[in-house]
Amino acid sequence: MRILDIALKDLSQIFRDKRILLFLVAMPIVFTLFMGFAYKSGKNNDAAKDNRIPLGWVNNDANGLVSRQLFEMLSDSDSLRLVELTPNAVDESVRKGEVAGALIVPLGYSEQLSAGREAQLTLVADLNSAQGQSIFQSLRTPVTQLMSAVEIARLSAETLGKPNDASELNETFASASQSWSASDSASLVKVELAVKDNFLGDWYGDNPYNQASPGILVQFAIMSLVTSGQILVQERKSRTLQRMMSTSLRPWEIIAGHTLAMFGVVFFQIALLVVFGQLVVGVDYMNAPLGTLLISVALSLWVAAMGLLIGTLVKDDSQVVLFALLAMFILSALGGTWFPLEVSSGAFATIGKLMPSAWAMNGYQNILIRGLGLESVWLPTLALLAYALGFFVLAVWRFRKMDV
């Protein structure tokens, strides 16, 4: 009962200042709309322009049959855009990023291959850059098909007993190249999303708010650390804490009371953002209402407990704000609220997946993107509760040692 009294006192104190609504409600809503809009605009921008990777083209074998065929294949590419370069301009164009790489066809390339000798194409690219890697990967298929046509021509001519007949080699090469153009191995591979059959929601990419809404929700829940941390600081300043400590209240009861209040504040914020996401931007939290509830409760408990731990560590309000903001930046980025962890480097993703914020994102994504039900949020919920318990125990331990 005394825990409840402390919680109610805190809540009345917190909501007396109406400015808190700006941070609890208005800012996350504006940020959700902003981020969703930014994702959508980025996508539209990408769709409107030619997104093919620019590839510099230097042909020193202008009249060669094989190089001409390669030029035709690359000109038809969906992923590469040819930019003709002079040999002298190659290095500078690649260095400046005007082209992602440059392909150089050596002098006598076609003749060498027709004669059964080795010949190499040269790609000038920085393989340490993402674009350099992309262009190398994009060139593999056309180069493989080109060399395959050369090899087929050689096999055919040998089988016919005309290994050195240039006309036979050329005709077979043209025929094999044509067959490759008609072949489409990619069409034999069908890609499906692993989602529930009856799930009707929009997928990641179709509705940008599927990432923006839970991402901002988790980020601003963490920002609530400011409010929870400030409770203890203010009580210390007003000497309320000292008076409470002189009563029969136990330290853990005081922390539990404050945690309960903060849980209420964070949960209230999350609930508003869930309703906003569902009704305004079409994010289907109600695909699994109980799952959404469980993950939101666990997230609120963790944030409340961590906020109070910060409250026991700092000396004044400004330190609370600083610690809370730093925690928000680190946990939001590592937890995948700004961008999917899959696109980051291995170490970042591995560490990130352990963060409580990542568990919260995982829980929401199971419902919103994977279309799963209640069963999918048990693990993230348990992980968040374990974090909440850990931070609560630490907060009590620090509180006992605190000089009030």
Partner: protein, 422 residues
């Protein structure tokens, strides 16, 4: 001289504020470091992404009288269990599609490759309605793309065998001969041998491959898309926190007013204009110092090339004029330091968003347009030009606009303060 004394006193006070130090230096560096940690290692050559977890359901059966030794399904399955991919692919077998679907749902694997029972038979029969299904976790993009490309590449190898038979057969006919069925296996085998060697060279021995890769010859800074992204990310942080720092440092006027020290200063023979000028000077120095430290840190920690010295100087000066001007204007409207939180937190964040500071690397048209009406937007324009290596002459327009904005805001704010403390 008194102006400098007051400015020095304010600067000392600022350095004692953990919050100001944190927001001015730690926060922008931390944010940029996080992005660098996430993507920077890729730029520096470490291409290690998280492991791709693949599940394989291979129901494919080798049909009777097949020219192949093993089914295509088994070839595809073996590819994911091969030693050469073990460092970045973790593969496991699943009995059926339902089991694989369950594993994707449980996030035990990111991608499942499902090969139907009659795939080899249908493929060899030339049926086009057969297919291998790649079942992917909907939150992933890179892993599934890699797996799809691997499967398509293997099928390309097989398709090459088919094309070999077709083309050789056609050429034999043209030359009045017939390709005997007994000759087909050796022809396919020769093609497969070539294809295996070719792929091995392309994947594992680039110097002997049909496509060799060389780096561009050195000469000047290497343009790198990740580095360019880092430059824009840090420019966004630099601008946002510069405006925040300016406003927070300017708030010392309100704090001193609340603490009563400002009124006590006004009772001294020191001119009020001198007192206010000293305070403004402290904010100028704080913002310049912050900018310089972040630029140097950005260059050495994240290898950001901020541009030519002249362009860099104009961008930084323009940023300083605009941030100090806006700080003076904002604080002149605020009555108490308590009001500052929402105004700084909400107002500056909103202006930053509209100006595209948080999406600087995405270059979104509408924010570029809105940025024409905000000081932060013009500062971002200046940094964009400087980062792109533009000469000083290209930065004159944004600098003049920022200077003018800064002066106008400063004059209005200073007049408000003058009236308030008259």
């Amino acid at each position: 001289m008194k102006i400098f004394d007051i400015a020095f006193k304010d600067l000392i006070r600022s350095t004692r504020s953990l919050f100001l130090i944190g927001m001015a230096f730690a926060a922008p560096l931390l944010l940029t470091a996080l992005i660098y940690f996430a993507f920077g290692s890729i730029a520096s050559g470490d291409m290690s992404m998280a492991d791709i977890k693949v599940g394989v359901v291979n129901a494919d059966v080798l049909p009777a009288n097949s020219p192949l030794d093993v089914s295509l399904g088994e070839n595809i399955r073996s590819m994911f269990f091969d030693d050469s991919v073990r460092s970045w692919i973790t593969a496991s077998d699943y009995a059926d599609e339902a089991a694989a679907h369950g594993a994707v749902d449980a996030q035990e694997i990111g991608v499942a490759v499902i090969i139907p029972a009659t795939f080899t038979k249908d493929y060899l029969a030339g049926k086009t309605d057969t297919s291998i299904t790649i079942l992917q976790d909907p939150t992933l993009t890179i892993g599934p793309t890699v797996v799809r490309d691997m499967v398509a590449s293997l099928l390309d190898g097989v398709a090459g065998g088919g094309i070999t038979i077709k083309v050789v057969s056609e050429r034999m006919t043209v030359n009045g001969k017939t390709l005997e069925p007994a000759g087909i296996p050796s022809l396919i085998q020769r093609y497969i041998n070539w294809y295996t060697d070719f792929q091995r060279a392309l994947f594992h021995s680039l110097e002997n491959a049909a496509l060799v890769v060389t780096s561009p010859a050195p000469g000047g800074e290497l343009s790198n898309d990740i580095q360019a992204m880092m430059g824009l990310v840090m420019a966004g942080q630099l601008i946002f926190f510069s405006f925040y720092t300016g406003a927070y440092a300017m708030m010392s006027i309100l704090q001193e007013s609340e603490e009563g020290t400002l009124e006590r200063m006004f009772t001294t023979p020191t001119d009020r204009t001198t007192i206010l000028a000293g305070k403004f000077l402290a904010v100028f120095i704080t913002v310049i110092l912050q900018g310089a430290v972040l630029l140097i840190a950005g260059h050495y920690l994240f290898k950001i090339n901020w541009g030519e010295p002249g362009s860099l100087a104009l961008s930084l000066l323009g940023q300083m004029f605009a941030s100090v001007g806006l700080a003076v204007l904002l604080v002149s409207f605020i009555k108490t330091s308590k009001q500052a939180g929402p105004v700084f937190g909400g107002g500056l964040t909103m202006l930053g968003m509209l100006s595209g500071l948080f999406t600087a690397n995405m270059n979104i048209d509408i924010f570029n347009t809105m940025g024409n009406f905000t000081p932060q937007g013009w500062v971002l324009k200046a940094w964009r030009l400087s980062l792109a290596g533009q000469p000083v002459s290209e930065l004159i327009v944004p600098f003049v606009v920022l200077f003018a904005m800064g002066i106008v805001m400063f004059v209005i704010g200073a007049r408000m303060f003058g009236k308030r403390f008259a």
